[in-house]
Symmetry: D2
Subunit: 370 residues, 4 copies
């Protein structure tokens, strides 16, 4: 949709569904992105739905793609795997959603029918998994095609807050499933979270579902640590000197649960150093390199190490908890932009440390998308 078109609002409004284009944030190779016109998506399979995006957000993974870290992503891909929207059209096989339904889009696409989906491993769905904004076009656009809609959308609760609910697309289930559940956080535990970015903070929020006695937040950025304290961290460690965490935490017994939320060898190493005998290391970060695992020290320590791509199987439960008011994920929102300003939003999110950015909210105004 061009500015010229915007000058003719009555025409646009008069024939909303006849437009065949939309605006979208498009990846054009390492370091290159544009907010540009693209064809509006259409139903391709009976299980598809087309969703008009009302709210979206940017994820650290989007930055990885932009850097070129995931070379499989082709030039021309629309980015984004988080969003809230309105169902505009559904395929013949979609039974749970109807035109006009307001929905939460899951970052993971699930057919519900394959062996992995039946085991609750939607992340490895034979027809889905994480594909939005990666293997297929994503949600940082005016419209998106959602394959396997019945397994990949959730009904938006009446009266809920879009800013809170968009955190259910990815960040909350990721933090909860990969960090808290895999880490087996229990009442009374001592939990360390390495990395106080948006996902680390989502872990912090959802770890509190299980009433650990202490949650130690470890990061290099004092500002993020201060946010963590507001969100419930009981102890803060700036690991800038490379040894602080190890020093403070291994004089004692070590931690019951160490959660890696960065994705580099150094932070994984903190985890394997501070975990107590009988404890758990839950890896959440996306790693680009191998790490050195000190089995010569750990073989007799009775620990578990887990990895996980989020399955989003806990989304229904998280919805209940958010609805009950016990979890307020909109605390993670630091900036708000119109979707039209997404290029600026990326600038802000890309300088997160300087800007103090956590989650940036993107909103499609009605005039634009109708």
């Amino acid at each position: 949709m061009t500015i010229a078109e915007l000058e003719l609002p009555t025409t646009t409004a008069a024939t909303p569904s006849t437009s065949t284009t939309m605006k979208a944030l498009v990846y054009h190779g390492p370091g290159e992105r544009a907010w540009e016109e693209k064809p509006r998506p259409a139903i391709q399979e009976p299980s598809d739905a087309i969703v008009r995006i009302t709210t979206s957000t940017i994820c650290g993974t989007d930055l990885h793609i932009l850097k070129g870290d995931l070379p499989v992503v082709p030039d021309g891909r629309i980015l984004g795997h988080e969003g809230i929207g309105i169902v505009e059209e559904v395929g013949a096989g979609v039974s749970e959603f109807h035109v006009g339904d307001k929905v939460i889009i899951s970052c993971v696409t699930a057919c519900l029918k394959c062996d992995f989906c039946k085991r609750g491993m939607y992340s490895h769905c034979r027809k889905g998994g994480w594909i939005l904004g990666y293997a297929i076009d994503g949600t940082q656009a005016e419209y998106v095609r959602i394959p396997q809609a019945d397994g990949s959308l959730y009904h938006f609760p009446a009266g809920a807050d879009e800013e809170a609910m968009v955190m259910l697309s990815d960040i909350l289930p990721t933090g909860f499933e990969c960090g808290v559940l895999n880490g087996q956080v229990k009442p009374g535990d001592t939990v360390a979270i390495v990395g106080a970015g948006p996902v680390g903070l989502a872990i912090l929020l959802t770890a509190q579902f299980y009433s650990p006695a202490a949650i130690i937040m470890i990061d290099l950025d004092d500002k993020r640590l201060a946010v963590a304290q507001q969100l419930g961290a009981t102890n803060l460690i700036n690991s800038g000197d490379g040894q602080a965490a190890q020093r403070e935490l291994t004089e004692g017994a070590g931690v019951d649960v160490a959660i890696e939320a960065v994705g580099i060898p150094a932070t994984f190493d903190i985890c394997q150093t501070i975990v107590a005998a009988g404890g758990h290391i839950a890896n959440v970060g996306v790693h680009g390199k191998p790490v050195e695992l000190h089995l010569e020290k750990l073989w007799d320590r009775n620990i578990s190490i887990t990895t996980r791509l989020v399955d989003t199987v806990t989304t229904p439960m998280l919805l209940k908890v958010v609805r009950s008011g016990k979890l307020q994920p909109s605390q993670l929102v630091t900036h708000r932009f119109a979707m039209n300003d997404i290029m600026k939003a990326y600038d802000t999110f890309g300088n997160a440390a300087k800007e103090g950015a956590l989650k940036v909210i993107l909103t499609n105004s009605d005039s634009l998308v109708r």
Copy 2:
């Protein structure tokens, strides 16, 4: 006890309980061992028991100590952490065992009272753990002092077979807890066991408690693989060329459970290569070096990796299964020696590949120990 002494059996027999010495297998620094006279152990703490050994055996860990791999073990240490025997004396605080009771000695000493013991982590008992034949004198002797006797001994079932029961000291709980339980073997699973030594075979036997659909045994030694087949392995892979396992197993979906029972980087690497998404790697081997963990490939594979020093908390259950006849651990016995011939037994066990040795049984004849 020297040969000269043995020429005077009547004296020895006439005053059995007044003797203050015994024979024992003693470590004298790397590569040095002797079957020599040592003071007979005495009660030191109220929780101690003195056990007269009737049956013992040699473990791969004993060889590690002899090689000097565990430098913390001092010259003069009596080796051995497995055994069956008769209680000769108990301290004032021992309530579950009495003089004359026939007992199975657990390789792990458990006070039952500390925080780790209460959590079922006897391996990390504040007063015990693996100490026999390592931090204190062990069972390859005529007598042994067992600290924390109430938590470290088990009543020998009437009528049971000593050769079968001595496998409960270490090898069966080790294989079962560190391999099968930690690997979460389930009915219908595909399980791979890397290493067909005594512990690997104990894993093979106890994995069958859970009716996996396939158990793939991987080793370099065809003779051991043949034994594995007799004990229930459904598939055999000789990994001699370094790639066989990976090639055969990753064309398919990978295995649900990969169990490492060797303790070197190469075998751990096989495990991380062949494990399926959603699968489990259970480390059982004792490692001397770090391994490279390919988090850049595994971060999104939803796997678990576990380590464990055996806790022996499943010994009561294993006793029931052995008693029921569903598990016949004496299948692992390949050689038998009088305890007096333990030096030869070590020679045999130390050349396991050539000798076809798995477990070697050591028996104290009555004439000697009375």
Copy 3:
């Protein structure tokens, strides 16, 4: 299909798909059943499949319906919820099955998309659950309509035995999920199964997945107890005098797991009498009356009591175990009939004690159904 029609095979064969009728076993009110002509089922919803039945069987529940115990079942209902067949037609929303696929029909219909299905409780599927041969027409016919086909059918393994596989429709998942899993059978356990009918025997077979030390079979019928012994029961108790089980089993410590597989107060009472402290009572039987629960004796016994309508979520796993040869469910087959002789088959199954009947197999011959 009438006899007159059968005299004109060429016509039938020439236009197989144009026939609009079929033969089916129809319920006509309490005590009344007929093998009669009915309209052939057609696709009604995009998620439907039409399956041509090749093998079916009769369940005790079918007898309950015939007795009038389930008054909600209307006159005219085709009975049967077990079967193997060939997919003849699929709706537009069916993605996992195609015309010509050989399939196992699950007794439970699962949409996979509702809240219950997502939790693995297919039994309470919002659009399914147990409906075949009960709320909608069933499988004792030449053709059946299967709603929610993607969640309710399973691919028949190439080369497998239909008689074995038809046990996966109901009896094996019922015994395994409601009895063995809910009863938490573990290696070394003592398990009692009250009721040695087909479901009780399916429990017996699948309990052995977990290597209990003892399985005690309790029934009034010595013939069935003899079958149980052949299938792996370690102890048999004829509870004819009403006290035998209690007497034999409560002198000891009681049983770890007591599984009720009959559905009357007397058998539930046996279970609550014989269960050990810390044990589990798994109810599998279909009950028509309340039972008296002795909470005044049980409140401090740390037991669990469970109920369950089979979810069939373990069918993929059971398929693997049957395929591996570790479970041979065709051992439960005692009689075989052509589907055309289903009236006789019901006579036999209805006199199970006298006839020594367990599962009776019904086969549609090709000439009839093509």
Copy 4:
């Protein structure tokens, strides 16, 4: 200790340990109790400790004994199974506690060595279980003998509040283990607690460890319901008309967890009426009569029903949570008395409804017990 003695404090103080008597609350048959002189307890077994009580409290079970509901309790028994105190003397087998240690006394005595203790079922310890103030003399006294001291005492955390900590003797582990753990409370759940007495409120407090979305408190007493609201209940139902709970809760889907904390058929019946398919009924109440279990309605509802005598295995964890400040059990204290006034304390606690009593604290003043 008589009033005459109290007039001679210097003498008492000068020879504290020579006194051979103490004051205690003694049961003298149904309805009869007295605060009277009794011999001071002495070490009988090596595993015993003698504890000087500083704080105790009264439990509903004490009232049951006084009513004569537990006829096994003999005339002359000192009541009470909750308390804080100072170790005065230990047997030779006690290793974890020393004279002068401040301790929390567990209501359950655990040898830690028997089969039940090793399984974590201290409640059924072969040498212990619930015996204090029931099978042996209890804690409503100046001194108490604690058998199996190493398993039955916990170190009092430095600086902690005795009123809070005495709730760890019984009420908190009972509510948590029998109600919350057995009920499998999960984040997002709807939980109903039937009975807002002290144990019901302990369930309410500890259920919040797991962040349920809603906790519905059901009772006949509006005052107790008001307390429940202050302690975190999200919904209150006065079940006075016998149908309110059923009406309100079964129009919806029913509750995920229904916890019975009264011990009569009517309240159990509420639980079985309101539990959702797939839900859990956790019985906590002490029942004197059987209940009618509606298996004819529940057989296909996939529910669990559990019973449990508290094992107190979670006491170490509860200690951590109380220490972290996330649980403030002193909120349950409504009245405080000197131990000397225990007869009045019983009057108050025995009229709990009228007095608004929950937990009444009993304190031994130093002058009395020194």
